[in-house]
Every structure is written in structure tokens, then in C-alpha cells.
Assembly symmetry: C2
Homo-oligomer: 215 residues x 2
């Protein structure tokens, strides 16, 4: 199974690492990290991660094409014609076209979600309509060969779900145990539908500031 | 808040990225990635991440000292006198001495868990007794200024819990919403106490093979 993971400047590291960690443990999986150039790519955790391939040397027909999201750097990514062109090209041949968080906006910008149900981070989901997607609020949204997760931490549920579909539920069950995925969120505020009003208002304000036009 | 994150060859990437992603979003947090040398460090996801500091240039008194775990490379890490010596030195002054997964074995090897309750990945927890720790099966185990998480994905619960203690519960609630941490494990097998017998037996066999002596 050939997994092609796209890196870009300012990416939210956990969006990518959640599913990648699951797939890296799959027997027979090969992982390829692709950016405009081989070498370090800055993430939002003040650390760089290294692309192993550039657009020219990346597999032409991966089994899984995957891109995670970001905060404000999402705006640059969806306007980056090289990145979006690469996604459109590989997405036309990949067996699975997938994303977590605002990575869905990049798939959308590449024309890959037209007529498909899709999800993104709860704070950005509505924007998927601009790309012809049908909005979904499923934490792991699968429509034919498109698989799009919700925000950041949903990548673990998303990665395990896809691993189960591809490698079988018995493998999925083992991976979930190996990853000790028996979560216990300390605050119980992890979705707008369960958060208290004050937390929701403050977090909405924070997201609005993140995406506000520069003055 | 100065967070010192230790990198080592073969590390399990998600162990580190779970809490790091939480802390990177904390207002005023500074993150430093430390290894024997500045530059790329291989992870278990077939990708490298770059240390920003070496042992000599790393903060002498971090607020949080953190190390994640690994599979088999754990054995090399606990036998690495430079790494363990560095942990012992910084651990003596850090406000918080912390780990996820088998990172606890490294803290133990550095003498930092003697007489403290601590946890590790469920498959390796028993080994903490060799280092004088008191075994705990709490997903996030806090005893005075020692905070040790369980296996791999526990790092998100661990990171959020510590963020709440340090920055206040209102910040913790916002981060949990921002990270959309409303988990939905697809298989319900994420801990030995809830996994079916076949999944548990196969996963135990897989871990035994991972840690078996080389022939």
C-alpha cells in the first residue's frame, strides 16, 4: 500500500501525524512525504519535518493520497497553484483521495470534492460548499473513494477507519490496541455540540482572528 | 512557558506530537527540540524531524521536560548514557518531568521516577518497577511534578490535562474544542481491559516479537 502524504509550509503537525502513525504500523505500507522540494518543511509546532520526494519524483498513482490542514496557512495553500495542481493530478488516479481538517479545502480547490460529501474542521466546514462539496459533520466522512476527517484529532479515528477498510477489521482492532486508543478527554468540550457557551464563543473569536484579513 | 522536547532515533512520532500540538497552541509557549546533534532525527513513520538544539545548547531549566517513547528503539535509548545523562540533569531542575508511552522507561533509567507513581504503554508498564516507580494504570498519571501518560494516543489527553493545570481549565476547554477532540474510536479495542481475546493475544505476540532479543 503506497501512501502519499503531502507537506506544506505552516501545516498543523497532528493533522498529518494522526493517520500517518496508524498507516506506518500497517504491514506492507510504504510512506512517501511530498513537497515542492525535498527537505525541511516548517510546521505549526515550531519544528520542521523533511519531505522525501518532490512533485516530480512522487508516485504517479498512489493508493492513498493524503493532505492534512492548517490554520491561517490554509489560505496560502489553497492559492498555491503548484500544490493544487499536484493534488488534482494525483487525485485523478489515487485509489483513495483523503484529508483531515482543512486539508479538505485543498482537495476542494483541486476540484476533487465536487458532488462528494465531505467534512473539515468544524470552524471551516461551511467553506467546502464553495468547492461544490456536500457538507457533512461526520467525524470520518467517507463517500465512494473520498475520505475526509473533521478537525485535527479526528485524524486518529480517520486513520484507523481507513486502515480497517483497507486491511480488514482484525488489523484495525489490533492497531487500536497497539496505539492504546481508549481516549479520555479531560474537559468534554471537543465539539461545538458539547462545549459550554463561553468556551465556544472564545474559540470562535480565536478562529475568526486567525483567518482575519491582514491589515 | 519553556517546553523542552527530547528527540531520539526511532521515536514513535505520535507520542511526541500529541502533547506538542496542544502545547504549541498555548499562548506564550516556547518549544525547543533537543537531540545529540542539531538536525534530522529518524522517526518510526519513515520521516525525519529536525532537532533545533543539541544537549549543550538546550535550556538548563525548562518548565516542561518531555520525552515520548518508541517500540524496539526504546532499548537503545535507555542504554544511551548521553541521552539518559541529559534527562537526569535537566530533570533535576525542570518544573515538570514528563513522558508519554515508553518515554517513562527513559525517565526511569535516569532515576527520575524512584518513589513516584508512573505509567507507560500497557505492554511495557511492568518494567517501570525496575526503576523504583510505583505502577499506575491511569491514562494520565500525575504524582507531584511527574506526569507520565500511557501508550501513544494518550499523549493528547496528557497534553490537555497538563495544559489545564498550567494555564487554567478555561484554556484547556478552548484547546480541546480547537483540536476538535471528541473522539470516536472505530473498534472499541483500545485497552487490554476492553479488547476481545483474539485481538489482545495477537497484539501481545506482536509486541513480544518487537522486543525479542536479536538472534
Amino acid at each position: 500500500m503506497r501512501v502519499q502524504i503531502i507537506l506544506f509550509h505552516g501545516m498543523t503537525l497532528l493533522d498529518m501525524v494522526g493517520p500517518t502513525q496508524v498507516w506506518a504500523l500497517l504491514p506492507g505500507a510504504e510512506l512517501q512525504y511530498v513537497a515542492a522540494a525535498v527537505g525541511p518543511v516548517q510546521t505549526d509546532c515550531h519544528v520542521t519535518i523533511s519531505a522525501t520526494h518532490d512533485y516530480a519524483s512522487a508516485w504517479r498513482d498512489p493508493d492513498i493520497l493524503f493532505i492534512g490542514g492548517a490554520g491561517r496557512p490554509t489560505l496560502d495553500a489553497i492559492a498555491n497553484v503548484d500544490l493544487i495542481g499536484f493534488l488534482a493530478d494525483r487525485g485523478a488516479r489515487a485509489k483513495w483521495v483523503t484529508s483531515v481538517c482543512t486539508g479538505a479545502l485543498m482537495l476542494g480547490a483541486a476540484g476533487l470534492l465536487k458532488g462528494y460529501r465531505a467534512n473539515s474542521h468544524w470552524g471551516t466546514r461551511d467553506q467546502l460548499e464553495n468547492f461544490g462539496a456536500i457538507l457533512s459533520d461526520e467525524r470520518v466522512c467517507i463517500d465512494r473513494n473520498r475520505a475526509t476527517g473533521g478537525g485535527i484529532t479526528s485524524g486518529i479515528d480517520f486513520g484507523l477507519t481507513l486502515a480497517g477498510i483497507i486491511a480488514g477489521d482484525n488489523v484495525g482492532r489490533m492497531l487500536e490496541l497497539l496505539l492504546e486508543y481508549n481516549p479520555a478527554p479531560p474537559f468534554g468540550t471537543g465539539h461545538p455540540s458539547i462545549a459550554d457557551r463561553e468556551t465556544l464563543e472564545h474559540t470562535r473569536a480565536l478562529l475568526a482572528a486567525e483567518y482575519a484579513p491582514e491589515s
